[in-house]
Each structure stands twice: as structure tokens, then as C-alpha cells.
Amino acid sequence: MSAPTVGRPHTRLEGRDKVTGAARYAVEYPVDGVVYAWAVQADVVRAGITRIDADAALATPGVLTVLWYANAPRLHSETNVDLFLLQRPEVHFRGQVVALVVAETLEAAREAAGLVRLDYDTLPHSTVLSETHPGLYTPDHVNPAYPTNTAVGDFEAGYEAAEVRVDHVYRTPAYHNNPMEPHAATAQWRDGELVVHDSNQGSTPVAQILAGLFDLPPDSVQVISEHVGGGFGSKGTPRCQSVLAAMAARAVDRPVRLALTRQQLFSLVGYRTPTIQRIRLGADADGRLAAIAHDAISQTSTLTEFAEQTAVYTRGMYAAPHRRTSHRIARLDVPTPSWMRAPGECPGSFALESAMDELAVACGVDPVELRIRNDARVDPEEGTPYSSRNLVACLREGAARFGWADRDPTVGVRRQGRWLVGTGVAGGSYPARAGASSASAQANPDGTYVVRINAADIGTGARTALWQVAVDALGVPPERVRIEIGDSRLPPAPLAGGSTGTASWSWAVSKACRALRDRLGDRPPTEEVRVEANTAPETNALSADRSYVRYAFGAHFVEVRVDVDSGEIRVGRMLGMFGVGRVVNPTTTRSQLIGGMTMGISMALHEEGLLDPRFGDWVNHDFATYHITANADVEQIEADWVEEDDPHLNPLGVKGVGEIGIVGSAAAVTNAVYHATGVRIRQLPVRLDKLLPRVTALQGQ
């Protein structure tokens, strides 16, 4: 038996394919006779469609058909209203798909899409979220199934009695996931069966939902997603591209490629809701919290209720006897918001970790020390112990590595040439969960092994990590083990989301591999031996086990500098320390954590989805105007983790690292901006104009 592979750095198995251009994504498979579809979007917000004129589009050379509500193939399931496409003459948000052109060439499809004429009866619309919106209501639960409101102790009394009180409203704008690969699909019908190459975070649920929509037996749909160009939540559940491509392919009886454009993504694949969050903290003079309240407002669409769990972060982060959280949402005439990297925890942590910084200033306590003082020993609402909680270890280790000691809390005083310099810290946490998965392991007479599981590698390194797990569980030389993922014909597995992928999938892989070893004994097989395992019994038992709460924790340390003349902000250094259980592959784990942290820089400084209230459309719907962090925006960034052996999670003891990297990261940046300039940013993003008056005044002193 060779040395363990789990825990050792390993480059990606598909690395060679990705650096040579051989890796194929959803619309890159050679398909004979393929044609192209192009979506036509509504240019009104709320309306009934009164007339469609497709004559000019149909007359365009190369155009095969134009589909709309009257002639599109019928769909059979309305479970997901956002996917009930081209079925009704109604428009619920600007950008909704109202027609689909199919043509022999991409150029013809695109030209004809611009020639489809629609007439509408428009209705008044409401697209702006505010704390006074008349439509605000309390949803039954928040995503995915948390209670909407919680209360422990007597917040009002605890808050009123507190020596130091902080009461502020924090606002975050809409954010768009923007994976580098726009959502795309190639659909083919073969003898009544549907085969789709699709870009998604889990093709098992995509195949199930397509089967429902097209009224097919589940095993008549195959969805292949071998390589996926990022998702960040926006490909978590099926999106319109696979449904539209399948409809088009059925209508023209040809294979169809449909790639959404970058611009179309802004209204068609979900986004992070804007939030309005009021945080109240009551503490003694030493910063020990007595009362915490977090009241969050967000938006959803008229089609689907998506209630972001924005305040859930505050339920478990810091100790206080008196506490309360609430959520209210408004249904607006907007596209349906959805998951984006740490939905809830990400914007929620911006508010709470900013307020904690404000409390540190108000009490004159160092912000690292303040967080350590308020660390929770047990879950503050449930009273349940943590399976492991290493927030304090992350804060201490991070502070030591970053050089936090002796930090002067005075704001706006550190000059390096033309720059004002400051440092900031924030905590972070994210639930550690696992879902039921299946996997198979096969031994071949030639001594090789094949492990199969419909996991998705959207850039996480899942393929490599699961192969490492399989190698160890089989106890054979690595070169003898092959892994297959990304195909709904493989043993079904949950999607890559909620930082559950590695925990869920590795459990099934190790179970299948161990079962195979048990079956084989010491003898090499004389014929193919294949076993399949399903972890539903184990994960159900875990869900039912209330003896521990399970979270990953982290701490971010940031140094920024602000130009005294222009207000330009640079993040010079960023360090994230994390407690994420066992790390399967340090190479890809570090990359993923840094990716989350960088998206936090992007959230703090660059990204802001702007919706025009008059026309209900996303104004800055491309990379020229919706800015994301570029190479020059990242100077020194480092992620590492503390040793954490948590026996209460899953066989490998992994917590998942997809989201924890972004939680708290934006607050660490804005807390550093405050330290540098004295300007408190309670509405993201930081912009030059928010800093200029103050830095100019500091310059004059």
C-alpha cells in the first residue's frame, strides 16, 4: 500500500486538457448537422404579449423556425416557473425570453433574433427595493429551509441596558455571478431520448428536471457536463439554456447549440439580491455583547419566491444572551434572484462584521480581541456544541502572520508617500453539510480500477480530490485508478453547491471503494467486479443528529492603501486563515479559498449591478461596465488553514471550501478602508467619490 494521497498537493487530473484546449465545454462537442438557437428577450418589464410578427425573421436566409408561446413545444411541469419557458403570453421581467430563433448559422440566428417584432400591453411595474416598499412581507422560511425569524432572550431589554450601542443600516447592491463560461447547452433528440451537453453544477438534477418538463422517463434523458466553466451558484439548478435548446432541437429535429451571451446572463440565470440590513449591537464597555439584532430585507421576483438567508449568519457567529434575526422580502418585477457564492452568509457577514468593527471602535477594543471576547462556546441559539470551532485559532494565527500586533487604531494617519494605509479584519463562517450520494467502484482483471460518480467539477478540483480519495480507499497504486464524473448516466450525486460537494461525494466514493475491497478480499479479480454504494442512510443519520452544529470558520486580514489625491483604493495584502476540517488537496483548496477571497475584494470595490427603475433593465450588463477584479487588482493574497481534525462530520472529516473564502472578505476590506481614511462604508461598493471628500481634507491637514 502506498502513502496516503489525501492531504498531499496534487495538480489537476484534467490540467493537460485545459492548457492545450482539448477540454470540451457544453457547446464544443462535434455534432453532425448542428444548428444554432438565439434567444429573443422582452424589452418591457411587465406586460401581456398582444402580437408577434416573425415574418421578417423567418424570411432571413438560413432561419429554420421561430418559437414563441403559441407554437413552442409544450412543457409539462410547472414546478419551476422560471423554466416554464415560451408557454404563456406574459412578461414578468425585462429580459425574459419571449421567442427563440433557430437557424443554420450563428450569424443568421442572431440577425433574425433582432427582426422578431413583439407588441405588448404594458402594465405598471415596481423594481426598486426599499425598506418602505409596500410589498414587503415575511416569507414562510428562508433559503434553503431555515426559519425566517428567530429570537432568544429579550433583545430590546438587553439592547436598552447596554453601555455601548451600535445601530446602523448596511446595504449591498445586486451582484451577478458571471462565470467565465456563459450558460450553454447542446441538445439532441435520438429516438425519443434527449441528450444534452450542458453547463451546470450537477447534471443529476438537470436530467431529472428536463425529464419532468418534457414528460420523459428519467432514464430517457442524459445530461453530460464533463467540463464546466465556473458557476458560483448560477448553474446550481437548471437554467433556461438546456430547456430552450431541447425545445429548439425538438422543433427542428436537428441538434441545437444555444449559448447565452454575456449580456443575457444578467437577466436570465439569477443574481445575488440587493440587501438592506439593520444591525444593532449592545455591549458592555469592554465590548462583551449582550444583545444582537439583524433585520434583513431583500427582493425576489413575481415568478418565484427566493428568500435569501441574509441574517442567518448572525445566528451562530458571536455569543450574546439576547438576540434576534428577521427577514422580509418584496416581490418585484425583476428577474428571480438566486444563489451566488455563500447566499446569505456573504452579504450578511458584510453587515455583521462591519458592525463588529464599529463596536470595536466605539469600545476602544482591538477588533481581533473583540471577536475573541465574543466567541461562542456553543451555538448561541441552540445551545448545541460545535463539532469544531476554530474562529479564535484563525484570528490568532492570522494576526500573528499578518503582523497585527501593536496596530494603532487611529484612523487616517498612516502615510506612505501618496497613500493612506490601513488594516482591517473580519470573521467568517459557513455551514458544513453533506447530502446523500451514490458512487460505484469497479475492479478490472488487468489490475485497474474505475470509480464512477456524477460529481461536477466546475473548477473546484473535485475530479482530482475524489480520485485521491478513491486511491486511498482502494489502497492501490494511483496510476491504476481512473475516475469518471460529469454524466447523468453515472451513479447519481448531488450538485456542487453549498460547499457540500467534496463532503457528499467523497463519502460515497470511499464507501463504494471500501465495499469493493471487502468484496475482492486479497485475490485479484478474474472478471470485472463492480459495486455501488449510496450514503443516504449515513447522511440521513447525520441530519437527524442534533448533538453538534457543524460549521467552517475563517478570518480575513487586509491591508489597503488609498491615494490621497484620487481616492484610488488598492488591496496591498490579504490573508485568510480558515478552519475547514481535513484538506484533501492543498493545491486546489488554496486556489479555491483565494478565489473566494478575491471575489470578496471584487464585491467590496468593483461590482455593483445597477437596475434602471424606469425601464427595469440591468444597465451595466457586460464586463466593460460591470467590473470584476482583474489581475492588476490582486497584489499579495494568501490563504492557509489551521489543523482541524473533526470526527463529527463525515468519514474524511472535510467541511467544504467553496464559500467560506468569500464570507467576511468584503467587510475586511471596508474595515481596512475605515482604518486608512476614517470613512465608514455602509453601502457597497467603495467608490472613489465616497472617499474623496475625507482624504482631500486629510491631505489639507
Binding site: 484546449g21 467565465m180 463560461e181 465556473g230 473548477g459 478575491t598 482583474a630
Partner: protein, 179 residues
């Protein structure tokens, strides 16, 4: 199909191989590669020249192939990511991208590698960038800041930027581009 007046004959030398295509005049170089030549290494991330995923080398210089009509590139030599490796032997830059984990989802990677290839050639030729301190001081020194600036036309949402810089530095050091 488009009228014949809307189509043109286009000759392209792609990765050393001559191609003669009859293309819709609106076909971009990117779509010519992907949809007509089956070379899917160059990616379509935005189709507006804003993300860099479609970067290829056109007559030796890095370009965003989504912004160039194929007909306008007729007669040119194109190198896409598929043309970098010598058979089974990866270019040092490609190997460094693997070794430094300079990608996650891989969708921007072809563009990053083609862009870095072109960028290193620009540095060899002494071309300055906006962060080059002294334009009169001869060839630019390829600091991390220079690499970051020169690679900022290639977005990576997974944010492998630091690892991309490390991979390019390692390549440049080995090839003595770095002073």
C-alpha cells in the same frame, strides 16, 4: 444561407495548416475557429473583447479573436492554444500553468496562455506598459507588477491571478526573459 455576395473566401494559416473557407462576412475569427475549423480552444466569454478568453496570436501578436472578422484576417497566420504544444511536449508556459495551479474552471485558460505567450514576446522586444517606470531605461523589467498589468486584459472569475503570475514568472525565469 446568406447570399453569395455576403460571403467571402478566406484563407487562414492556423497552427501551421492552411485553410480555405467560404464564410459569412459577419463570421468572427473566433467563430471561424470554433464553428468552422473545430478548434474550440479559444473560448467565447463575452464576444465583446472585454474578457480575453478568445485570445489567439495573429501574425505573432495577441488579439481578441471575437473582435476580428475572419474575412479581415484573411491571409494571416493564426496560432491558437492548440498550436502551442509540440505534439505531446507542452510548452514550458503550459506546464507552468499546470504546476502552479494557474486555473480552476479552465475556461479563460486558453486565452491566458495565448496572451502570456504574446506578452512575453512583447517584453522581449522591449515594449513598455503603463506601469513601466522609466521608458528610456531600455527593455522593461518583468516584475510581478508588470505581469499583472500586462495580463489584466484576461479576466478570470475563479481568480487564479496570483498563480497565473507565478506561472508566467517561472516560465520567464527559465527562458531568461526576466532580468
Amino acid at each position: 444561407m446568406p447570399e453569395e455576395t455576403e460571403r467571402s473566401s478566406v484563407t487562414l494559416a492556423v497552427n501551421g495548416q492552411q485553410h480555405r473557407l467560404r464564410l459569412d462576412n459577419r463570421t468572427t475569427l473566433l467563430d471561424a475557429l470554433r464553428e468552422h475549423l473545430g478548434l474550440i480552444g479559444a473560448k467565447k466569454g463575452c464576444d465583446h473583447g472585454q474578457c480575453g478568453s478568445c485570445t489567439v496570436l495573429l501574425d505573432g501578436r495577441r488579439v481578441k479573436s471575437c473582435l476580428i472578422f475572419a474575412v479581415a484576417a484573411s491571409g494571416s497566420a493564426v496560432v491558437s492554444v492548440e498550436g502551442l504544444a509540440d505534439g505531446a511536449d507542452l510548452q514550458p508556459l503550459q506546464q507552468c500553468f499546470i504546476d502552479h495551479d494557474a486555473f480552476q474552471c479552465g475556461y479563460c485558460t486558453s486565452g491566458q496562455i495565448c496572451s502570456a505567450t504574446g506578452m512575453l514576446d512583447e517584453v522581449r522586444k522591449g515594449w513598455p506598459s503603463v506601469v513601466t517606470a522609466d521608458l528610456a531605461a531600455g527593455p522593461a523589467r518583468l516584475s510581478e507588477e508588470e505581469i499583472r498589468e500586462r495580463m489584466s486584459g484576461n479576466l478570470c472569475r475563479c481568480a487564479a491571478y496570483q498563480q497565473i503570475v507565478a506561472a508566467i514568472r517561472a516560465t520567464a525565469t527559465a527562458e531568461a526573459v526576466l532580468r
